[in-house]
């Protein structure tokens, strides 16, 4: 399918490319001398509007950009940890295979209220709502930048862009040509190996990445369950400049993971493990019409499977207890079309359409031994109008028809005012919806033996409504004339309604143990959040920079669980400096106030984490080398999810070569 798509796009779009080098130099001249064609030949637009990061002063929402320098300085090995660098984000490790990433709390071990896109491909699990962060076949080394939109952004980012949207952009295959290999090893079983090769030929570039990563995350002295994790993945990206105006990108990856313990959240046996695999393919075509206009179409397919098998001792002596597994699979197929158009000097418009099919099979927790599936359609449009250079108005909306949520309209209004260059104010309001996921709407998880209902864990007796968020915000963006100092400040007010969660035990006829369904999904709560956050980045010298961010959130809710699920205050600091002789140092400090993860997490005390990194770069034998030592959590053990799941101090060393 993928091959057919590529070939047909190629045939459809190929236009001969005129280039100086192809024309050849006139006879009589050494061939490499420049001629006038070098000055006048047409060239493709490489940095098209979709490849350029948007200036914060023109954005309708608050955006945090994490670039390569920040990722490198942080010393993080895991993608989930990188979100510690974003104001208002919390990262907790339930276990080594189960990180949770949420923005402004309100999360259980399944953080369900964010859209996460890797090169435009939505990667959250439609069955349970969370992202399998460890299993994403995205090596940190392959990431170009991460843009995090803080606040709802459905008008631009589509469905599920509820509390925030995470855009992960991997590097274009034409970047960083060559081969790179790195090995990391250290305490707590850290053993990572990665090989990347990037090559190209004329209009075609490719990159192949293979990663093998393992560790034992939580300190076994405090957390009795095994949580070793080991994953391997391979990922391919190809970028093809098909013609002067057309580019085709194809990406594909496969992950194979072996994790101790459950990834669904129910542990029935100490030897319970998860065999996890996932693959995806995506193809996109971009036609750049001019610097401000482009059209793109994208297709992607993702398939993921988890195998968790165990045995539960018989309770009644009548036979085996069912279920004996928490196996699941899900898939997502999507076809998207996006258009950016400049209608006039002052008016720009983007619009998009998407058809998406999601399916899941999870008989143990849904009680249905068949595939649950549905299609979602969306249309979205956003207009930007700049009546004067200092004003920019944004009007946008997304209409969505979802298999559970029905028809929804998510509008957004924003205005940027830049009275003086470098100072900009933003006023915005937006609404977004989160549709129930497949588990929330279909849960029916019980232990049975010989047809008797031993204990009902989960049930979804109600028709659920989508959750709704309405946000109002005031933003201020400062950028110094020499770009050395940037500040982004945001004051916000969120109203979240119809929060889907578990209600009190629900009567279940015939249940032998327990007092009804332990967890029954329903639209239960509402929460109001107000607060402020800022991020500041200061490049104080060519060799050094510091990034500082803080967040204050006050949450009121008719559920104390939700009111307490957001830390009142959090702070982060990341700084890096180059020293003479190829030495680099960096320091990351992260403080999260007291909070309680919804559900089983329990109260999590305020915690501080300090990470340090020292690296040395040199050249030898025609290759570039880097040796680094990273020490994590050097202040002592920290528990980020509940009171006693400790991440203990650890260090690892990395050797990297590039040629």
């Amino acid at each position: 399918m993928f091959a057919r798509l590529t070939v047909s796009l190629a045939g459809l779009l190929f236009i001969p490319v005129l280039h100086a080098a192809e024309q050849g130099a006139p006879a009589g001249l050494p061939p490499e001398l420049p001629n006038e064609a070098d000055f006048f030949a047409e060239q493709p637009i490489v940095l098209s509007v979709s490849r350029l990061a948007r200036p914060a002063a023109q954005s309708p929402a608050a955006v945090t950009v994490i670039d390569r320098a920040m990722i490198e300085a942080s010393g993080f090995r895991q993608l989930a940890d990188v979100f510690r660098l974003v104001p208002g984000f919390q990262v907790g490790w339930v276990r080594g295979n189960l990180p949770v990433v949420t923005y402004q709390g309100l999360s259980s071990l399944y953080a369900r209220r964010m859209q996460v896109l890797v090169d435009g491909r939505s990667v959250y699990n439609p069955a349970y709502g969370q992202v399998h962060w460890r299993a994403l076949p995205v090596a940190l080394d392959d990431i170009d930048r991460i843009e995090v939109v803080r606040g709802p952004n459905a008008a631009n980012d589509g469905a599920n862009a509820f509390q925030a949207t995470i855009h992960i952009y991997t590097q274009h295959a034409a970047l960083d040509r060559g081969t790179e290999a790195a090995l990391s090893a250290g305490e707590n079983g850290v053993l990572d190996g990665i090989v990347r090769h990037s090559g190209g030929r004329e209009d075609l570039s490719w990159r192949l990445t293979y990663l093998d990563r393992q560790d034992d995350w939580l300190d076994s002295r405090y957390y009795a369950q095994n949580d070793g994790a080991h994953e391997r993945f391979i990922n391919l990206r190809m970028d093809w400049q098909a013609s002067m105006h057309d580019t085709v990108t194809v990406e594909s990856g496969y992950t194979l993971a072996n994790w101790d313990n459950s990834t669904v959240g129910y542990t029935f046996s100490p030897s319970q493990t998860t065999d996890f695999n996932s693959w995806y393919v995506q193809g996109s075509w971009h036609r750049v019409i001019d610097a401000d206009s482009e059209i793109s179409a994208q297709f992607h397919h993702t398939w993921t499977r988890g195998i968790e098998e165990f045995s539960i001792p018989s309770k009644l002596g009548l036979g085996p207890v069912s279920p004996d597994n928490l196996n699941f699979w899900f898939q997502r197929d999507a076809l998207e079309l996006d258009v950016v158009q400049r209608l006039s000097a002052t008016l720009r418009m983007t619009w998009g359409a998407e058809a998406r099919y999601e399916a899941a099979w999870s008989p143990s927790v849904t009680g249905k031994n068949h595939t649950l599936d549905g299609s979602t359609y969306r249309l979205s449009a956003a207009t930007e109008w700049a009546p004067a250079p200092e004003w920019l108005f944004h009007v946008g909306a997304m209409w969505e028809r979802n298999y559970y949520g029905g028809d929804m309209l998510s509008p957004r209004l924003a205005v940027n005012w830049q009275p003086v260059h470098g100072h900009s104010l933003r006023l915005a309001t937006a609404r977004a919806y989160r549709t129930p996921n497949i588990l929330e709407q279909n849960a029916d998880f019980k232990l049975t033996e010989a047809g008797f209902n031993l204990d009902q864990y989960l049930l979804s007796p109600y028709r659920l409504k989508p959750e709704r968020i309405t946000t109002r915000e005031l933003g201020y963006v400062f950028q110094s004339a020499d770009n050395s100092l940037a500040l982004d400040l945001r004051l916000f007010h969120n109203q979240v309604e119809d929060i889907i969660d578990f209600t009190t035990p629900y009567p279940v006829p015939g249940e032998l143990a327990g007092n009804g369904a332990d967890l029954t999904y329903a639209n239960l709560y509402r929460a109001t959040q107000r607060g402020g956050e800022y991020q500041l980045r200061w490049k104080y010298a060519p060799e050094g920079w510091v990034s500082l961010w803080q967040s204050w959130v006050y949450t009121a809710s008719d559920s104390t669980d939700y009111a307490d699920s957001v830390p009142r205050h959090s702070l982060g600091l990341l700084t890096a400096r180059e020293l003479a002789g190829g030495w680099n140092t960096s320091l990351g400090y992260y403080r999260v106030g007291e909070m309680t993860w919804v559900g089983f997490g329990g109260p999590t005390p305020a915690h501080d984490r300090l990470d340090l990194r020292l690296a040395k770069h040199w050249k030898a034998g025609g290759a570039r080398w880097e040796a680094a030592v990273t020490a994590q959590s050097v202040l002592g053990k920290v528990s980020e999810y509940g009171p006693s799941r400790y991440f203990d101090p650890r260090a690892f060393a990395t050797l990297r070569v590039r040629f």
Partner: protein, 311 residues
């Protein structure tokens, strides 16, 4: 009218026409505008040159536009104006003795060709080089982005001879120029990696080894990634992703050619000035890239004015 009167009148008219044509031969200069390829930028420049010459009210020029592939034998013109490298080569090897003015030819190609052909045959030949002088390019960089102190240059085999001149031009503007020599297109990527944190901007110079189909994407993506502003030498490279470009348009080439031709024929017999860089300049900014990288350079008009008034 008798037959005799008729013959006399015809004879008188013929003599008058002959006299007029003999008189005119000293005043009307035949020009052949020789194009490397029909149409395109060559035609645009040649037509501009022709229109400027003819519309200026001076009746002294007769202009013929010819594709170099169609030229056979001497053209009998007073000046051959070659547009582009191919046309210059044809002009240099043609059997005409007419002096040659080369337009739209980069300096290096001109020097190689003129050295090869004209020296042997003693032809009068000059040029207005298509390239912008390095001093002007660096002055633009300085005017547009005052924070830039260190400039990287990628040079291949063809342009390595230029690097000393670029370094000297930088010194006079207090800019430290770091040239990197690349032996093959593939080395462009490692050279760019070397530039990371070592330079504040990249000056692109035309070298087919450095800028070509296989390197362009990587060049633009890597420099953007490194937040390196790029000064390019063509409008299409600007649209491709450079932040700034300085170049002469085909129209400007034609206009400048017309001015030069009038000067050449100012005293009747053609007198060729020495070859020189173009004085025409167009400054263009890629505002999308500039804004995205957080640069706020002065307007194109202001930058142009600064360059035009520069010594």
């Amino acid at each position: 009218m008798t037959l005799g009167t008729h013959i006399r009148l015809t004879l008188a008219c013929s003599l008058l026409l002959l006299a007029l044509s003999t008189w005119g031969a000293g005043q009307v200069h035949g020009l052949t505008l020789l194009l490397s390829e029909p149409g395109g930028v060559y035609q645009e420049a040649a037509e501009r040159l022709r229109d400027d010459l003819l519309v200026s009210g001076e009746p002294g020029f007769q202009v013929r536009i010819q594709n170099q592939a169609e030229r056979s034998g001497p053209g009998g013109e007073a000046l051959l104006v070659a547009f582009g490298v191919k046309a210059l080569r044809t002009a240099l090897t043609s059997r005409s003795n007419a002096p040659i003015l080369a337009l739209m030819v980069p300096r290096q190609s001109y020097e190689a060709l003129a050295g090869e052909h004209a020296a042997a045959r003693g032809r009068m030949v000059t040029a207005i080089w298509l390239d912008q002088p390095y001093g002007r390019q660096l002055a633009l960089l300085r005017a547009a982005l005052p924070q830039v102190k260190r400039v990287g240059v990628l040079a291949g085999e063809a342009s390595k001879s230029q690097t000393d001149e670029i370094v000297r031009a930088g010194e006079s503007l207090q800019l430290r120029v770091s040239p990197r020599l690349v032996g093959a297109s593939g080395e462009v990527f490692t050279a760019l990696a070397d530039f990371e944190r070592e330079v504040d901007a990249l000056l692109l110079i035309p070298d087919p080894l450095v800028v070509n189909r296989a390197t362009l994407q990587s060049l633009m993506l890597n420099t953007y990634h490194q937040r390196l502003p790029v000064l390019a030498y063509s409008e299409s490279l600007l649209r491709s992703g450079a932040l700034l470009a300085l170049y002469a348009t085909p129209r400007q080439v034609g206009q400048e050619g017309a001015v030069a031709i009038r000067a050449i024929f100012q005293r009747g017999e053609p007198r060729l000035p020495p070859p020189a860089y173009t004085r025409a300049l167009t400054v263009k900014l890629n505002w999308s890239v500039a804004r995205s990288l957080g640069f706020n350079p002065p307007s194109e008009a202001e930058l142009t004015a600064r360059l035009e008034t520069a010594p």
